[in-house]
Amino acid sequence: MMTERRGIGSRLSILQYVITVIFSILAVSFWVLQVVEHAKFEEMAENNHQRTLALRAPRGIVFDRAGKVLVENRHSYSISIVREHTKDLNRTIRLLAGVLGMDEAGVRTIVERHRREPTYRPITIVQDATLAQVSAVKARRLDFELPDVVVEEVPTRQYPETMAAHAFGYVGEVNDAQVAAGGEGLKSGDIVGQSGIEKIYNAMLMGEDGAKRVVVNSVGREIRTLEEDPPTEGKRLQLTIDYDLQKSVEDAFDATEAAGLTNAGAAVVLDPSTGDVLAFTSRPAYDPNAFAAGIDRATWASLTTDEQRPLNDRAIQGRYSPGSTFKMAVALAALEEGVITPDFHAHCGGSAVFYGRPFACWQKRGHGSIDLRHAIEQSCDVYFYTVANMVGIDRINKWATALGLGMLSGIDLPNEVQGLVPSTEWKMRTRHEKWYAGETISVGIGQGQVSVTPVSMAVYMATLANGGTRVTPHLLKAVDDGTGWKPVPAPKPQSTVDIDPEKLQAIRDGLWMVVNSAGTGNRAKIAGKDVSGKTGSAQVISNAGRLAARTNKDLRDNGWFVFFAPRDKPTMAGVVFLEHGIHGPNAARVAHHILDTFFAKQDGRPLPPPPTKESLQFDFSDALAKKQRPPADTTDR
């Protein structure tokens, strides 16, 4: 009995030791977890239940010069997957694709593309979701079927009217290169301006995203907000654009397209005293709204492969021969350099020979003996061949440059392209050849090497209108950072040049006669407003080349109309350019509606109704078209 009891006693003692050791090990384990590794687990617990959600800042609203909204924001919904709490991603993708009515493979591709991003970052599956999609997802979320899918309300850019697309530009998700370039603290997923003023003034328009720290439970549902840092809306911008004038430009171009003349071209209207851009258009245009919530592949492809290149801003990136509209630059050079006086007469017999080669005037009958004013009015080519030959290329270059031709205008839009007015120095530098005097002759009528952008033509007319100040065209008028509007001073002129007013007046007289007398621009006449302007019909290809061409390409001439008004105290200057518009007078017809609207608004008259394809009465006659061979691929009858 006693030995037995002792046996039990020792066995119990062993148990006591074992239990004590086990509990000591447990205590040490807890000490390691709770004290030694506490920091690590505390952080994991924080990450477990706290989320920082970005609150997107709306971009600044853009107004016209009178305060009318041009660009604003609307609310849209994006639907995203947050993988952090996803238990079965395939199931979520399958379910979500079904709920959204999307292709499962498509959803999978999107998720795959973002696979390597941190799991707490939402992967956006649908931007700008329809209300049906939003409510379908929300219903499933309430059932805990899709706890890892979030619906976010995001401000999205909206352009209420499709106008001035190239001036406004468009927005899009920041690309990797832009993030890498840094600056402005851009981060992946930000929406930034990719073109137009959206791009140029992106830093002002963008605003600052806010953030919200929330507590979520184990299925990712938000329980409460810990703190909220509201987003700061982007600065509001006021543009120099005049909505009504801009609208008139768009309407006129719409009618031009409807009439079947052309869908391509550009127009810029400036205030010649300040450089305020009152209207700005490039055609064909795109719909900036298509980019606002992420452009779809098909739309993007159609924009980039379109031969008409709608993304191209013809007003600042298109380079074209100015044709007869260049003649004022030649005239001013001759007058200012003292080569001629306004009374200088030349004889036009329909053509003239220079350096052993005949040069034709557009008027085969000839203009007879003609002075400067009438040479401008009649656009006599022989007169300007003669004068250009007398002045020489370098002096033409000097004065054309002073008027802004062949120069950058300095407009506040991205990627402006420089035109070209040739000079002996230019030819030597680029071609390593000397300039032949014979080359100057075609330059005299704006052909040959000369190329200009529409915006530089607007500057050219503004400079002629204000008497020599090459104003810098600009779109930004005032900024409101939330503390009230602060006007933005007009940028300094690019250059100024002294022009003898009497000599300038001779040119202005000629321009006035173009519109108001027997000239080619009388379609642009506005009673009592002394519109002064000049048409130009510039060849896309030489006449001989055009006759020989076997192509479907549009080889019809480009049409120009440049103008300012009124003649003596101009308050506006501008350009209308019709790509393949056949004649300058057709451009003058378009300009008429713009001028009419401008003065109607100025005088407080009711604005003219939008033109129709009939009311513009375009001239489709094309002297060369009849002689042109049928394109190669049309079948013989």
Partner: protein, 364 residues
Amino acid sequence: MFERRLYYHIDWALVMAVVALCTLGVLMIYSTTFDPTRGTSRMYVTQLYAIVIGMGALVFMLSIDYRTFTDKSHLIYIGVCALLLYVMFFGMVQMGARRWIPLRVFNLQPSEFAKIAVALVLAKFYGENRGTPSWTDLAIGGVLTAVPLLLIAKEPDLGTAVTLMPVFLAVAYLAGMRMRILGLMFLCLLLAAPVAWKFALKDYQKSRVSTFLDPSQDAKGAGYQQIQARITVGSGGLSGKGFRQGTQGQLRFLPVAHNDFIFSVLAEEQGFAGVLVALGLYLFVILRALEAARLAKDRLGSYLVLGVLASFTFQVVYNITMSAGLAPVKGLTLPLMSYGGSSMIATLAGFGLILNVRMRRFTN
């Protein structure tokens, strides 16, 4: 039957420690089941009822001489096995297992009472045999344990079933089973493991084991609870996040926080300090009970105490290890603290027996 002087021999220290652990449990249940959006949950009230009933059971088990219970142990054993059979065919199904007999107030879980029945019957069996148990004795004891064990495992409730094994092992050990045989049994268990893996375990059980070895392989599935348990405990720190301030338990990152993972919640909200207090209380309870086994006036008493204590200790150690994410997740509750009526009543009844043995150490 109940002599007045016995009152003075009640181990009040053990009673106080048990009551302290029950109180801690109620507080933690209150903390984890409190939902501000729905008002206070009634779960802690249910637990209080269970404690009151359990205390009644304790007093009942205390007041009758334990030898009376062991004398009737075969009846108790047969009764419990009958209940287990009943459950098997008519029990209530909940969460994929048929474990409960629905009663008016709460659901009775007979498997909890099987532990006491087995302890009683084994104490009686080995208490009557003198000397080192023979192979036959071991085999009979093994069969007596295996019958309810298999019935419970079939429910299925492998967790509770497994807690019967320590009862047999502890009693046989104390009865003088040779250490060699003990070693042999462990060897058999080790060899049986792959066979069990192949044939006996269900898929969810396999995944629990495999993810225990590498929780990150399935961080959202079976490994999730283990990782979350570790985060819960680790984030508690030295002094804890405060009562009802634990984010892990409150925000449901931890499943069944009021039940299997109640100790994790304690660790999160009361920190290492709270853990030390609870561990200390449990250790005190166990050592104090072992003391009762030592003081028992006969071998029967010692065996009975150890039999009751074995499943209790096994469950406490396993659950706390699991709460820290250091053992595979298994549906094993923490006796005295976890939410659950049957478990509470059975456990307190068991402590009634332990107190009983100690109290009657001088009687004949």
